[in-house]
């Protein structure tokens, strides 16, 4: 049952039809969560008599909800996969025109075709992010003890060109613990949070620091702190929505706006949660746990 609860992207009290893509507070689902699973229209549902425990009904509804979420993810997966083919074709044909008819088209015509190609690339990138987003919920986690210090070092090596380009400093002042998690997925979380810390950063000396507080009673809490542009508190929840961006499309490196949504899914699948504190103009601290996965 636990895996069901942690799987659904925190369905919480959302109506069943909207679960799955609504940002919520995290995996900590309140004890009265069952109230959110009443059937649509509610009126036909009578409270169970006292001598009959409610669990079977709740379990059945949870099962239905999980099934619906799986269907929704299948749909997202198939749709985003199938849309890639026509987009590839549009890009290819725009380039055939450029290659075969350049003299007829003139510079203005060529520039418009290059815009078609660029928009096609954007559509492709968004679909790839959507595919990955649906995959994160579908594919089973490969859980094993992971040295998160090693893992982070690996992620930072792969980010070296971004770090160099931004003349940034990334600090890991203390050893990080060994945690049971899916190495590849949690690596994605480190990558997304570190990339954001350096990208959404106007400082002449961008800075990110990754630490882990192991003293909390429940679980280690990882923290990625930066001196970036910060996040207004009104957006603390919404920035975890898929494709949610707080800035114009091409500002701050022009990402797809999927990194935090994917990170949230990954963390919640591990039974953890992700949240932030921030001061606009000074920096942000993103926290996450990986729970008892």
């Amino acid at each position: 049952m636990n895996s069901l609860i942690n799987n659904g992207g925190g369905p919480g009290s959302q109506p069943a039809g909207r679960a799955g893509n609504q940002p919520t507070n995290g995996a900590d689902i309140p004890p009265d969560r069952a109230a959110g699973f009443q059937p649509e229209g509610g009126a036909g549902f009578q409270p169970a008599p006292n001598h009959e425990p409610p669990e079977p009904r709740v379990a059945q509804l949870l099962e239905e909800l999980k099934h619906r979420n799986d269907e929704l993810d299948d749909f997202v997966h198939i749709a985003s996969h199938d849309l890639k083919e026509p987009i590839r074709g549009i890009r290819n044909y725009a380039n055939f025109l450029i290659e075969d008819y350049a003299p007829l088209l003139g510079e203005d015509g060529l520039s418009k075709l290059r815009t078609i190609d660029r928009l096609g690339q954007r559509a492709h990138d968004l679909l790839s992010a959507l595919l990955y987003f649906s995959q994160v919920r579908r594919a089973p986690l490969a859980l094993a003890p992971v040295d998160t210090g090693d893992l982070l070092a690996e992620v930072l090596r792969s980010l070296h060109s971004l770090i160099a380009e931004r003349a940034a400093t990334v600090a890991v002042p203390q050893p990080l613990p060994v945690v049971r998690c899916d190495r590849i997925r949690i690596g994605e979380v480190f990558r997304a949070l570190t990339t954001n810390a350096l990208r959404y950063n106007d400082s002449p000396q961008p800075f990110a620091e990754i630490t882990c507080d192991q003293g909390t009673p429940e679980r280690p809490v990882f923290c990625i702190r930066d001196n970036g542009i910060g996040v207004p508190s009104a957006h603390y929840e919404t920035i975890f929505g898929i494709f949610k961006r707080l800035h114009a499309r091409d500002d701050y490196g022009g990402g797809t706006g999927s990194g935090l949504a994917i990170s949230k899914r990954i963390v919640e699948r591990h039974g953890g949660r992700i949240w932030l504190q921030s001061v606009v103009g000074q920096g942000s601290m993103f926290y996450f746990t990986v729970g008892g996965a």
Binding site: N92, N95, F96
Partner: protein, 166 residues
């Protein structure tokens, strides 16, 4: 210039992707004959030289390389691959899977079924051309493909093997 002049069979249902593949092959100066099929069943009939594809000059038709899309109407690409590998006369032909999908399960299934390469179709003309150029460079220039007469003696034993290709 590719060394092998064996035919290439492209199993691809999208005419647009097929055009992109052919253009990219031409850019890479590939002059090998290319046979295209939209359906896996059709391609398999051609490879087996049966049904409407029966020819007496079958020796000329046996491809050196198969480029295979996965998402085909009817029989899907994975089944075509499995059928090719299970066929004692066709089993040695290299099969390059060229697919939109970057799904790990599909990639693994293809390699398990005996795919020689799995290439995700890139989005973007330059990247697409480069992917095809590399396929041509490696499979038509670097490697030695299985020679045809030996295998073909089993398919059509009455046909005289062609002169030794060395």
């Amino acid at each position: 210039m590719p060394q092998s002049n064996l035919p290439i069979v492209v199993i691809e249902d999208s005419p647009e992707d097929y055009e992109a593949i052919v253009r990219a092959f031409l850019k890479a100066r590939v002059v090998n004959p290319i046979y295209r099929f939209s359906y896996g069943e059709d391609a398999f009939d051609f490879l087996r030289q049966r049904g409407r594809y029966f020819k007496h000059d079958a020796a000329e038709m046996r491809p050196g390389l198969i480029i295979l899309d996965l998402n085909l109407p009817g029989t899907d690409g994975l089944k075509v691959l499995q059928d090719v590998r299970a066929d004692k006369n066709l089993g040695a032909i290299p099969v390059i899977v060229l697919s939109t999908s970057s799904n790990q399960r599909e990639i693994e299934a293809c390699y398990k079924a005996g795919a020689n390469s799995y290439v995700v179709k890139p989005s973007g003309a330059a990247q697409f051309n480069e992917a095809i150029r590399r396929i041509a460079e490696y499979w038509l220039e670097s490697v030695t493909l299985p020679s045809k007469p030996e295998s073909l003696q089993i398919v059509t034993p009455r046909i005289e093997p062609k002169a030794d290709h060395g």
